[in-house]
Amino acid sequence: MRLEALDEKCAACGVCELTCALTRFKVNNPKKSAIRAEMLVSKDDVKMRVKACRLCEEKACVKACPSGALRFNGRHIEVDTSLCKLCKSCASACPFEGIFFHKDLEWPLVCNLCGGDPQCVKACPMGALMVVEA
């Protein structure tokens, strides 16, 4: 299974972000989340975009990591926090811009699907998030 998002339904309310942070760390801090909802503004358009790991075919982050800190464990991307050197190559490589850093944490935040029951999917008021077969 993996996360899928319908950007056109997203309202960028951030409920997914805070739900993620509270589920993982029990802290009220949307910046400690592995998902972001963003509003993009141009002269004649406004679009929302959900940024999160979609478990892409190529596992670009795993390939990009020079320290071997990231691996796909068959369910989600797993981070070996002891190996990460915070080079952020993984985030640059991610085609969905779905990897995040926080100054309190010494490793990247990647969606772990909440152990198989993603809380953000349930929390989204817009029905913009869903689980699909990987």
Binding site: C13, V27, N28, K31, M39, D44, V46, M126
Partner: protein
């Protein structure tokens, strides 16, 4: 946390102070802090554009917490519109970023001699040059700042040209499409040469009992998700109200000379949904994201995109100026947002100017009802203070006082602030709500029209006054806790949730009645700010404009209905009695002392406001 940054623009200094226990316990947050800080620090006689005026930007205990509608920030200042207490709140995400940057509130004082923006980044506050932003539209400025700071998650409050030019009803924009629209605080920022405030933070927001907060939030989200109303609010937001208002003879039309708009279908929620809607935008944490994103698809305004329209905009600039289509409303909405104008006051001022022109009272107005191009030009003239726009930029009350006579009768304002979008000749409780609102005529303190519709449109019974007082406390409480009231108003989310959430977040065990007492304290304190400014103010200041008493509704089921002066007097008497105010609307000393506001008495008496003992 619990920190306030005091930003002195004159000295270019920043002082970080702790929140006092008094502010935290007796005033809670948001506009509660705004009122107390303005009472303490902005004395009588300080002009709204004086360096001595201040802008309080305040979050509250619930801002940024895990709950529906916690993306709010409250701004308070001495209002250019009224010369007395003013506030306005804004959704989006600014307050969350401000808190995560380590500050609960900002106090902006003094004046800068060059354009600046205030930057609040993770514990650091700085004053930065904004020459390159001055003159930009409010959305343009926000986008420029986000590019410059290279972080889209930064949240901004910006003003547009109207704020820079100190148009009295200039607004503040945040996150593309949310506005602190009312009372002209954008103009106060403009007078201080503050183009923008930008916040970006990564800190945890401290929560006393995280597990309890999650439990309360989950219950509340589930409650909202199960509600039919939630879907309707996501679909059309406040725009559902256009046809409802029209059916109920409450839709402001042609400067509130009428209450039914023959083209309501063209500017309705259905018109929006079918013709221009392209998406939704929710404020932080929202369970019912009601913000609409609209884009004109064809015609001469094709490509115009806006967050909205909201009901208030579509009514005040739409039906009240007799616009012909939702596309025209979208165009005017975007124009006002970019120029940084309150769409409510702007719609009222434009309609007033047009009616004055038609009656031969005002020269230099070329626009007419329904003339979208003329209205666009007039709105631009107001923002840039060109020609007749320079006079109109001061709001209906000042223009009417200058013109005198008939103009005073048709200036649709109370205390200097234009009435928002509920025509109330056949809604006495709503009229009382406008009359007694503590920032001038705004609906958000007491949206009492639903009660009029429920119990009787021409009744002046004491329960109506009681209902207005109740709403003024409950709805103020949301602005004090600093979160959105709509889940309660529209989905009937029980107020007990807020009591539980407040306890989980702060660790302070307070019952709802105790929280409502704070709202009552704040309502009395804002009244005292008015009294300090205008010590001889009496009940006449709590009246809606003469038009509503003198002209019957011209059509519809309530044809001929107007406000009954005697009935209104009775409602006002009852309202004062319930509040513990004398018959001129002055709080008694007994009432003030029992609310913990005894500290205002000496100053008010010294200034000549006669307060009775009880």
């Amino acid at each position: 946390m619990n920190k306030v940054a005091r930003i002195d623009l004159t000295k270019r200094s920043i002082r970080v102070q702790e929140l006092t226990d008094e502010l935290v316990l007796d005033y809670i947050g948001g506009r509660g802090w705004g009122a107390k800080i303005l009472w303490d620090e902005v004395p009588k006689g300080v002009g709204p554009f004086s360096p001595d005026n201040k802008v309080v930007v305040a979050t509250g205990p619930l801002t940024g917490t895990y709950f529906t509608g916690t993306g709010k920030t409250a701004l308070s200042s001495k209002s250019p519109m009224t010369g007395a207490y003013g506030d306005s709140n804004v959704g989006g995400r600014f307050g969350v970023e401000l808190k995560q940057a380590g500050f609960d509130a900002l106090i902006i004082e003094g004046v800068s001699d060059v354009p600046v923006y205030i930057k609040v980044f993770d514990g650091e506050v700085s004053i930065e040059g904004a020459d390159h932003l001055w003159g930009l539209g409010s959305i343009e400025a926000e986008e420029a700042l986000k590019r410059e700071l290279n972080d889209r998650s930064a949240s901004c409050l910006t003003i547009g040209p109207a704020g820079e030019n100190m148009v009295y009803f200039a607004s503040i924009t945040s996150d593309f499409g949310r506005q602190a629209g009312r009372t002209g605080i954008g103009a106060v920022l403009g007078s201080k040469k503050v183009k923008a405030i930008v916040a970006l933070g990564s800190m945890d927001i401290p929560i006393c009992d995280v597990e309890s907060m999650i439990e309360v939030a989950r219950e509340a989200y589930e409650y909202c998700f199960k509600s039919e109303g939630q879907r309707a609010w996501i679909r059309q937001g406040t725009m559902q109200l256009i046809l409802w208002s029209n059916e109920n003879s409450a839709l402001p039309t042609r400067n509130m000379s009428e209450a039914i708009y023959e083209k309501a279908d063209m500017i309705s929620g259905d018109a929006m949904e079918s013709r221009v809607k392209i998406g939704n935008h929710g404020c932080f944490g929202c369970a019912m994201p009601c913000g609409q994103i609209s884009k004109v698809k064809e015609g001469k305004f094709a490509g115009t995109v806006v967050e909205g329209p909201e009901y208030e905009t579509a009514a005040m600039i739409g039906s009240n100026c007799a616009l012909n289509s939702i596309e025209e409303v979208v165009k005017l909405n975007r124009l006002c947002d970019e120029l940084g104008l309150d769409t409510i006051s702007t719609g009222s001022v434009v309609a007033f100017a047009i009616e004055c022109k038609r009656k031969g009272l005002l020269k230099g107005v070329e626009a007419d009802f329904g003339d979208v191009d003329g209205i666009i030009r007039l709105v631009e003239d107001i923002a840039y203070r060109r020609g007749i726009g320079d006079l109109l930029a001061q709001g209906t009350k000042r223009v009417a006082e200058k013109l005198g006579g008939e103009a005073v009768r048709i200036a649709m304002q109370v205390k200097g602030l234009e009435i928002s979008a509920y025509e109330s000749r056949a809604a006495p409780a709503m009229a009382l709500a406008y009359g007694t609102c503590d920032i001038g005529a705004h609906h958000n303190r007491a949206w009492a029209i639903t009660y009029d519709i429920k119990v009787g449109r021409t009744l002046y019974t004491p329960d109506k006054a009681k209902w207005v007082v109740y709403l003024q406390h409950v709805r103020s409480l949301f602005d004090i806790l600093t979160c959105c009231r709509l889940p309660w108003v529209e989905l009937s989310l029980p107020l007990t949730y807020y009591e539980r959430l407040y306890r989980a977040v702060t660790g302070i065990d307070r019952k709802l009645n105790d929280l409502l007492l704070v709202a009552e304290r704040v309502y009395n304190l804002t009244r005292c700010i008015w009294l300090r400014e205008y010590p001889h103010m009496d009940r006449s200041s709590d009246y809606p404009p003469p038009r509503w008493f003198e002209e019957g509704l011209p059509s519809g089921p309530f044809k001929g209905v107007k406000l009954d002066r005697e009935g209104y007097e009775r409602l006002l008497d009852e309202y004062y009695k319930l509040r513990g105010w004398d018959r001129n609307g002055r709080p008694t000393k007994f009432e003030l002392r029992s609310l913990g506001l005894g500290f205002v008495i000496e100053e008010l008496e010294r200034l000549g406001a006669n307060l009775s003992e009880s």
